[in-house]
Amino acid sequence: MKSSVIVFPGSNCDRDIAVALEKMQFKNTMIWHKETVLPKSDLIVIPGGFSYGDYLRSGAIAGKSKIIDEVIKAANSGCLILGICNGFQILTETGLLRGTLLRNKNLKFINKDVRIRVMNNDTKFSNKYKKDQILKINIAHNEGNFFTDRKHLEELKKDELIAFKYCDEKGNINEESNPNGSIDNIAGIFNSKKNILGMMPHPERMIDEVISNKDGLNLFSSLIN
């Protein structure tokens, strides 16, 4: 499998995701934002960070960058796209994913390990997980409070487009287990064709027992399948 990681000025999880992809035997290429041609890839990852300083609005400038046109083209032709954290914010700015990410409910940056529940394991991103499996995973963001309109929310539910929801250790999805105020505890969503996943938590941080755990590995092994 070939993967490409888009690097914007201010991306800072680009190395981390590259390490994870290479560990899982992806043939990975880093793509600088000024490039106008994307190599043929099975997976494109938009990593976390503060693209263009997140000035204006998180992901807003990256969403209008040159390379993004190529990402949109690839997405429309069925290429798998994974946006993590700032990558998720960028995907919503491009319109590839609907909804938006508001400031965290407590108005502070939050970095901690939280639990998320796998809501749909019948996708290219999640087939190695069990349905309702609980993952311990790190979040690190200022604007991770997912919001969308009622109609889209209904669609997300009906078409099983919710990838992950924040939960507690036992899998309960409630206000206490919602770290940032996201609507319905949503931590990650798919587009309607399920070839695009945007998520706030960082699976690339959970691939090594010495550092954290291996709960993120199966996302990558699902993809390589």
Partner: protein, 726 residues
């Protein structure tokens, strides 16, 4: 313009210093030159009051590649790996403008580290605030924490450890010390010393604005009621640009283009250019028309004194300009050749084809004044505290008062605002004795901790200085690391006051003695004087940042109890020293008496023996005993885990308060498997270590035989109580 006495004073220079300037120049300086002198001769840049004392520090060692005097210290951690690190203060700006002050403190220390060729891998901080009830404390705390997080999170370097303390001594002068740690290849370290004549001097990074003019001079004076007016002297940080600058510099460092490189920190263009020239015994000529400016009509004076952030000065090898420029173009950063090295030994400033300033480099650097300020020795305090005269308190209540106090409460509400995991090598985060960062793609790791003990230093600086080095050393040992070297940030009051200068001299003497005995050299640091407002000085607060090495990291060691029915051993002797203790401070508001004695021999022996136990894989969890004594240590081990402990009453020391709350030094609590007891006992006895078997771990409850029984969950709640109500 005629330089009047008033202008001289406004530049923070004394009349007698102005006389020296005239002698060195053999004429009167113009305003630009006076500005350059003030930037170089202020306390912050020249270390004029501290230099003769700093020279006495212990700075050498087998693993020291670069000691104090460069942008940061460099140590050898084996193979081809070097660790580059330093701590620096940003106290004054953070009090005036907490967010930007703290943010640019982080930015500045990061530049010191990547200037030398290291990729930063961790950030730490030590922040001190006034009484939580003081009207300014809350907003200063919020501002500083957001500033530290805002910068580190954006640039993508994990903030992994630190300390947050409160004491009324900082009511009107908070402390914000930031430490950065980077990793480099031993043969790829870059220095600031200029070499060769007619080499291009290149300006890279952000444009120069009018922010931060006279910042370093501001940081070299006490505050008064008009300090809010000093806001314009605080710089504004842009972590996004710093990220670009860091990546561009690290990219340029891959080949051999750079002769020397220096970041523009305090005193900006002035200090960077003078430092490079001075170290290389050369002259330097700058064409100020070429300096990229953010604002129109900036004068040479403003350009030379601006402390705009995210800028670097580089001296390049011949013919490397174009390739280097391509890298900076890629990252959309300015890259302008603004001058050259010369053989004149002068700083020559040209503007619109005129020489607007010319000063011999040595007048700015080696000939800057050095003061051997008068100081007085602190007399040992004799006020003995008799427990019998104090109102009786139950052990349980005393413990609760400590655990729920601002200084001892859980700080995760702060550390959760910092990205601790980015770069994916953080094996241990804040909240343990030391953070552990793995070296990327390797098995080895470093442990890092920052520590201070201002109350001990205030009551008896010599012991306080020793204690703080030992405590830092202990924190690294407790996570299984071999301590290698330290950086220090010396926060003190007004050095012109003989008592304060005494605190400085004696703390330094203490630091030196401990460093020497423990073979724990100082490789970098920073001095911050004039911490005070209207003649009220802060407590002497030296902060030590230590780095230790873990050769093979399999599983990070921390202080959380791991299972039930493990044995608990207390390593080190308990005498029950209560003067200057948390017990007296938090329960009776008493801070009298002497700090606990430091016995360096025991310190070394106990620490090295524990390290031996850890290396033989005999320790399940370990924690050093520090503020709050044994009972606080044990509570911390309980409340952070699922297990509690059952502790026996001591056999020898009959007064339980002394036994459980005494702050005797060189002690650790360890948890071991019962079946390993004989092995552990043998090693400790062989090494002549005093230890006690104090009890065992159990499910759910923290218990002292016949005295108290609290569930670990309850302890956790108590420990989080203060912030939840703040």
């Amino acid at each position: 313009m005629k330089i009047t006495n008033e202008i001289v004073e406004k530049h923070g220079l004394k009349p007698e210093e102005f006389e020296i300037i005239k002698k060195l120049l053999k004429r009167e300086p113009n305003l630009l030159e006076l500005g350059v002198f003030s930037a170089m001769w202020n306390e912050h840049c020249s270390y004029k009051s501290s230099r003769i004392h700093l020279k006495k520090l212990f700075t050498k060692g087998k693993r020291v590649i670069q000691g104090p005097g460069e942008n940061a210290g460099v140590i050898d951690i084996g193979d081809d790996d070097a660790i580059i690190f330093k701590i620096e203060s940003h106290n004054h700006p953070s009090y005036i403008e907490p967010y930007q002050g703290a943010a640019t403190g982080v930015g500045g220390i990061l530049r010191d580290v990547f200037t030398m060729g290291a990729r930063p891998i961790a950030l730490l901080n030590s922040i001190h605030f006034g009484d939580p009830k003081h009207p300014k404390t809350k907003s200063l705390l919020n501002g500083v924490v957001s500033g530290i997080g805002g910068y580190g999170n954006c640039i993508g370097i994990p903030t992994v450890a630190g300390e947050t303390k409160f004491n009324e001594t900082y009511n009107e002068n908070i402390l914000v010390n930031a430490m950065a740690v980077g990793h480099a290849k031993k043969d790829k370290i870059f220095y600031s010393k200029a070499k060769g004549i007619n080499k291009s001097v290149v300006y890279v990074g952000s444009k120069t604005g009018r922010d931060g003019i006279h910042g370093a001079s501001m940081a070299s004076a006490e505050f008064d009621e008009n300090s809010d007016e000093k806001k314009p002297t605080v710089q504004v940080g842009d972590p996004f640009t710093e990220k670009l600058l860091m990546e561009a510099c690290l990219e340029l460092m891959k080949d051999n283009s750079i002769i020397s490189i220096q970041d523009m920190g305090a005193a900006g263009l002035t200090s960077s250019s003078v430092e490079m020239a001075s170290k290389g015994s050369l002259g330097i000529e700058l064409h100020l028309d070429k300096v990229p400016c953010r604002e129109e009509n900036m004068t040479p004076y403003e350009m030379m004194l601006s402390e705009s952030q995210e800028r670097m000065l580089i001296i390049l090898e011949d013919g490397k300009e174009n390739a280097a420029k391509r890298i900076f173009d890629k990252w959309d950063l300015d890259f302008v050749v603004i001058g050259k090295t010369t053989d004149t030994n002068n700083l020559t400033l040209k503007y619109k084809n005129n020489i607007v300033g010319e000063i011999p480099i040595e007048a700015l650097a080696s000939k800057a004044p050095i003061y051997d300020r008068k100081w007085i020795k602190k007399k040992p305090q004799k006020n003995k505290i008799d427990l019998k005269n104090l109102k009786k308190i139950k052990i349980e209540d005393a413990l609760i008062n400590i655990l729920s106090s601002p200084n001892h409460s859980n700080k995760s509400w702060i550390t959760n605002q910092y990205d601790q995991m980015v770069m994916c090598d953080t094996a241990q985060k804040s909240g343990s004795d030391a953070a552990i960062i793995r070296i990327h793609n390797k098995d080895k790791a470093i442990a890092i901790s920052v520590d201070s003990s201002a109350n001990y230093c205030k009551s008896f600086p010599l012991t306080g200085g020793k204690q703080i080095v030992c405590e830092n050393w202990r924190n690294l040992i407790a996570v299984g690391a071999k301590p290698i070297a330290i950086t220090n940030c010396l926060n003190f009051g007004n050095p012109e006051n003989q008592e304060i200068m005494g605190e400085f001299a004696e703390c330094l003497e203490g630091i030196k003695e401990a460093c020497k005995f423990l073979n724990y050299p100082v490789v970098s640091g920073n001095v911050s004087f004039y911490n005070g407002t209207n003649k009220k000085n802060i407590h002497p607060t030296p902060v030590i940042g230590g780095v230790g090495l873990i050769n093979k990291l399999s599983k990070p060691l921390n202080h959380k109890f791991k299972k039930e029915n493990s044995f608990l051993l207390l390593i080190g002797k308990t005498f029950g020293h209560l003067e200057q203790s948390c017990f007296l401070k938090e329960n009776y508001s008493i801070d009298l008496g002497m700090p606990p004695e430091i016995n360096l021999l025991n310190e070394k022996n106990n620490g090295e023996s524990l390290l031996q136990l850890i290396n033989e894989d005999l320790v399940l969890s370990s924690h050093d005993v520090s503020n709050g004594g044994l009972i606080t240590t044990l509570s911390e081990m309980s409340l952070s885990s699922l297990y509690g402990a059952k502790i026996n009453k001591p056999k020898k020391l009959t007064n339980l308060i002394n036994y459980f709350f005494g702050e005797d030094q060189a002690r650790y609590v360890i948890e071991i498997e019962p079946h390993n007891f004989t092995k552990v006992e043998k090693i400790l006895k062989n090494n002549d270590i005093f230890f006690e078997n104090i009890g065992y771990t159990q499910e759910e409850y923290f218990e002292i035989e016949g005295e108290l029984k609290i569930s670990t969950k309850e302890l956790f709640k108590i420990n989080n109580r203060w912030y939840n109500n703040y």
